[in-house]
Amino acid sequence: MKSLVFYCGNFGVFDDFCEPDLSLDQRFIKNNTSIFFVQAKGDSMSPYILDKDILIVDTSITLSRGQVGTFFFNSNPICKRLEVRSSKKFLVSINNEYSEIEIKQDDNLEVFGVVIGLARDFYE
């Protein structure tokens, strides 16, 4: 005869439905070899990006037009939006008080990575 088992307690319900906690790493760091945390400086990208925001930068994806990226423009580290208009490239600030930069022939523009998100501490 088959023995009958009587369960006491939670019927194992908690074990079955247990899933890992959500974590921001899991959400934003899909590729841990190519994600870099860097910091924004200044207000040229406000109101989207503020001074001291932590930028999550992915160096493995190719920057497309309209995306915000981190660059070395003639060796200067800058965070801007790349725009292409009538086959000319521009680095655009979101803050209107900053004028856009047209990339000329002898300028050297190196893309460091694409800004895929940011982290901000409200009370620091």
Partner: protein, 428 residues
């Protein structure tokens, strides 16, 4: 039909970063991508990495800083103190990128990784892909050598380094193999040290090709043992060395440093030893081991003949294995008491722990039982606080209040861009 792997032609790649430390310093410094740049050893002693531009200035490997100080002051040379937090972070990313493209890898050193590519096709393309991905994601230039054996992969890598045209050299079925072997001096073959190459030169072996074609294996075995013979076979394309996987857990952990100044006071010595002990204990807990032995050693400045030269070593065996920082510090300080001699100067000091046990698999001494659970809880709390609040937030008072009094010279260190929230790189 699928051939068993042993019958398949093997293929290995060695991926090696070009002047790794300098390349790491250049990741965030677009302004020095083409400037002569060097990285100094711990304590700013001598050059341990040189950019090609620095090499052409005539700076030798291991050149002491004081000899190149002038170039630095004239701003003709960019100088960095070693920033190992940065280098190890990039190194981990480097080997992870390779693991994502190759089925099996061996992390050979901080800047070199072997990959087993046996059974894959289009190896040169794969090599180029590895090279491009590392350059894109990490901004680190690499060279890739591909060959049927590890020794040949290393050789191919060296040739790629020398070549101005190609970053990837594939010697599999290559008609240039003979030439590659001929171009490589015997002392540049992986595993052939200086002593061995001297012996081989007496036999008229000057290049890797001479070695490969030398027809008396008995002499080689007698001169260089079985390993030497294996190297010869590897040069012939017969694979003898497989990938080696580093043991996950270390069998000993050490922390040692040469200090800028000579240390005379016992109190300073104790503070240093306490700090080193904290570091090794933390590392020990990270790999979930316990240790049963701790030793310290110290010696005077070898380069100053006015000082009394001495080397001291003390060791103690514990009754029960532990990873408790405080227990280990108190034992280490006992050792300092035993070792210290008034009037002697100490320049290099080290702490080492050995005789490891697994956290969950050891025996407590029958006559000296003690509560290991309590130990574990205390240490877990300590590690957690230090993880969230910053390294050394909570520490034994024996470690002193600041490390400044005896800390290293690192006058030109770049920020800890990747390991400290306070030192992130800024984009304007």
């Amino acid at each position: 039909m699928v051939w068993p792997e042993t019958f398949m032609n093997k293929a290995f790649a060695l991926i090696d970063c070009n002047c790794f430390y300098v390349s790491c310093e250049r990741i965030f410094r677009a302004d020095i991508r083409t400037r002569p740049t060097i990285v100094l050893s711990n304590n700013d002693g001598c050059a341990i990495a040189r950019s090609p531009e620095a090499k052409s200035l005539g700076i030798k490997m291991g050149e002491p800083y004081f000899k190149i100080k002038k170039l630095h002051e004239q701003k003709k040379l960019q100088v960095f103190s070693a920033n190992f937090a940065l280098y190890t972070n990039i190194s981990k990313r480097f080997s992870n990128i390779i693991s994502s493209l190759a089925p099996r890898v061996e992390v050979y050193s901080i800047d070199e990784t072997f990959a087993d590519l046996t059974g894959l096709n289009n190896l040169t393309d794969l090599g180029l892909r590895i090279h491009a991905k590392i350059l894109d994601e990490l901004k680190i230039p690499t060279c890739v050598g591909i060959a049927p054996t590890k020794v040949l992969a290393k050789l191919a890598n060296k040739l790629a380094k020398k070549s101005s045209k190609s970053n990837v050299i594939n010697l599999i079925d290559s008609k240039h193999l003979e030439l590659a072997l001929k171009m490589t001096a015997i002392e540049d073959v992986w595993g052939i040290g200086r002593a061995s190459s001297e012996k081989l030169k007496l036999l008229g072996i000057e290049t890797a090709l001479d070695f490969k074609n030398f027809d008396n294996d008995l002499i080689i075995q007698r001169l260089l043992s079985k390993v030497g013979l294996a190297i010869k076979k590897e040069l012939q394309g017969i694979s003898c060395f497989d990938l080696e996987y580093a043991a996950d857990r270390k069998k000993s952990i050490m922390c040692s440093r040469t200090f800028a100044q000579d240390i005379y006071e016992k109190s300073a010595l104790k503070e240093i030893v306490a700090n080193f002990t904290s570091d090794v204990a933390c590392e020990l807990r990270r790999q979930k081991s316990l240790c049963k032995e701790i030793s310290i050693y110290a010696r005077a400045n070898r380069f100053n003949d006015k000082l009394i030269q001495h080397k001291s070593f003390e060791k103690i065996t514990l009754i029960n294995p532990t990873s408790n920082t405080f227990t280990l510090i108190s034992k280490a300080l006992e050792l300092v008491d035993k070792m210290y001699q008034d009037g002697l100067s100490y320049k290099k000091i080290g702490v080492q722990i050995t005789n490891f046990f697994d956290n969950d698999n050891y025996q407590v001494d029958f006559f000296y039982p003690y509560d290991t659970n309590r130990d574990e809880k205390v240490m877990k709390t300590l590690d957690q606080i230090n993880l969230f609040e910053g390294k050394d937030k909570l520490k034994s008072l024996a470690c002193g209040l600041n490390r400044k009094s005896w800390s290293m010279n690192r006058n030109f260190k770049s920020p800890a861009y990747l390991t400290s929230w306070d030192e992130l790189f800024n984009f304007g």
